[in-house]
Amino acid sequence: MAGTEEMIDELSGLALFADLARPELAGVVHTLDEEWYPDGQRILREGLSGTGFYVLLEGEVSVRLGEQEVARLRRGAYFGEAAILLGELPGADVVAVGRVRVVNLAGPALKDFLMRHPNVMFRILQEQTRRLRGAIQWRR
């Protein structure tokens, strides 16, 4: 496929995939779909089912509750995981800010992907821990 080596290089630069050797990364590249979004396009829509898992490659996205931005995500960040892991609907819109490139995996394929690439799953575990710490500030 065109651009496989470039995509492998691109993913290898992201923390999420930092533990993967190149052959495993090649498998990941073939499993994920690259997508492109123009400025202002919704990538995830609050309340709509059947959503997927996304990793941001280029550009920024705004996480919005109504008109209110609650978070801004940048290269290397993932989103869409909560709806899939919890079997719920997305709680917010995620909107492209400027042009955005992501890699995407269908919701039903996520668990299998994480099991096949446990290093990636562990990185997500660490990141969720970090996000939770940030959200609760200090708790026991």
């Binding site: 496929m1 065109a2 492109w36 059947g50 919701g107 039903p108």
Partner: protein, 498 residues
Amino acid sequence: MEALTERPFPPGDYPLVVVGSGPGGLQASYSLRRLGIDHALITADDSPGGMFRRFPFFQRLLSWTKPYAPVPRDSRAYGRYDWNSLIGEEPAHRSIQPELMDGTSEFPSRPEMEAQLAEFVRRTALPIRYGCRWEATRRDGDRFVLQTSDGEYRCGLVVFAVGVAEPFTPEMAGREHVVHYVDTRDAASYAGKRLFIIGKQNSGFELASGLLHWASRIVLASPRPAKLSVETNSLAGIRARYVQPIEDRFMGGGVFILNAAIEGVERDGDAFRVRTRATDGGADLAVEADEVIAATGFVAPLRDLPALGVATFGQSRLPAQTPYWESATVPGIYFAGTINMGAPGLKKNGVGGTGAVQGTRYNAQLLAREIAERHFGIVAPRPRLAPADVVDYLLEEATDAPELWNQKGYLSRAVLFDGDGPYDEGIVPVQAFVDGSGADGVAMTLEGDAEGVVRPVAYVRRRGAISELSLDPDPLNEFRASADARAHLTAGLTELLP
């Protein structure tokens, strides 16, 4: 005699130019012509058919045309059972494919498909300028200028229906020893050979299936495991027809399937050695083969369009498109046919729009309608609906509409509301409806859920906010007759239909 007539569409000024004479270009041009839009249709080929002039090599098409179906052959609903004929607006233009099949299979052969497209051109008297190769593109004020082998075409709008059939072989050590799928020869010439096929998507399995009878050994390799369409409950993955090599591998018949990246290919006397690196924890191997074939896919032949500003993405370098198949970055450039894969839609549960004829022909028809409205002021009628009929109408569409069935969660039947009540907005791309800010209304589509079960889904738009209403599946997909579906949908529309 055709030879005596002038070739149509000499270089010059046109409101619109369609480039390409495969199913996408033919359907777009036919639909534009029916709407009275003056345009040129040019192609580098010397006959119609696009990719079907060459592919597939072996087997039949993966898209069916069933001679016997539950609905009449010239009905709109027959499009669910005939994935190959272009959409004609007169009876003589419709459902041509079943007339041209030899009756031995519900899948046309490649020549039968090519013949159908040629017959469509003949019956519709669709003018096409053959042998006119698009070479370069530039802008001149608000016009596009297409440089072709016959000269320059200047136009306000372009529809590129150029397919995704430019062969691509990835960089690797020893790439010069690898032959691409497009250069596959007659099957008998592979008799007794040990083959190494790089790539485990449909083209790789098509080759393996077609050469199973001839090759002494077949190794298929790619970094990730093959997924089967029967597992994904969609068209994504290896189609059922090509599963034979997988079965052969279980039985030890000489097929081997590796999850591996290719490190390199070297000459080894008269043969080759392919070095692989496993991606699934297996052993790294060096495999001997008489021929190494790259079934590694294709890219869209966009020439200098990226330099003009057309954004592309993905391993096939697809142009990024709006829900109405316009370039997301260069207004006025539109796309039809396989290349519509650059507008995958909402991709609910991973299922997006198809690149195959059964879907893209409806896209092209809609594209023509949209271009006519947006650029030429030709507005399609929006018939009124009696409020009491709205629910039944939507359920009828969910039961029968080929636009809804052939691409799940991609196209919808939309009913909007104005001061005088409901009207039929027509077939609307789901993404356009869901992200649009138009009038209140409802868009009915069909989607596969996370388990692959098909159900009708209605998107209700009320004061700009969208809600999703998923109806129950029906074992025979007879949603029109389902009291539950009627009750559920009626309840979901009470704000629109008090």
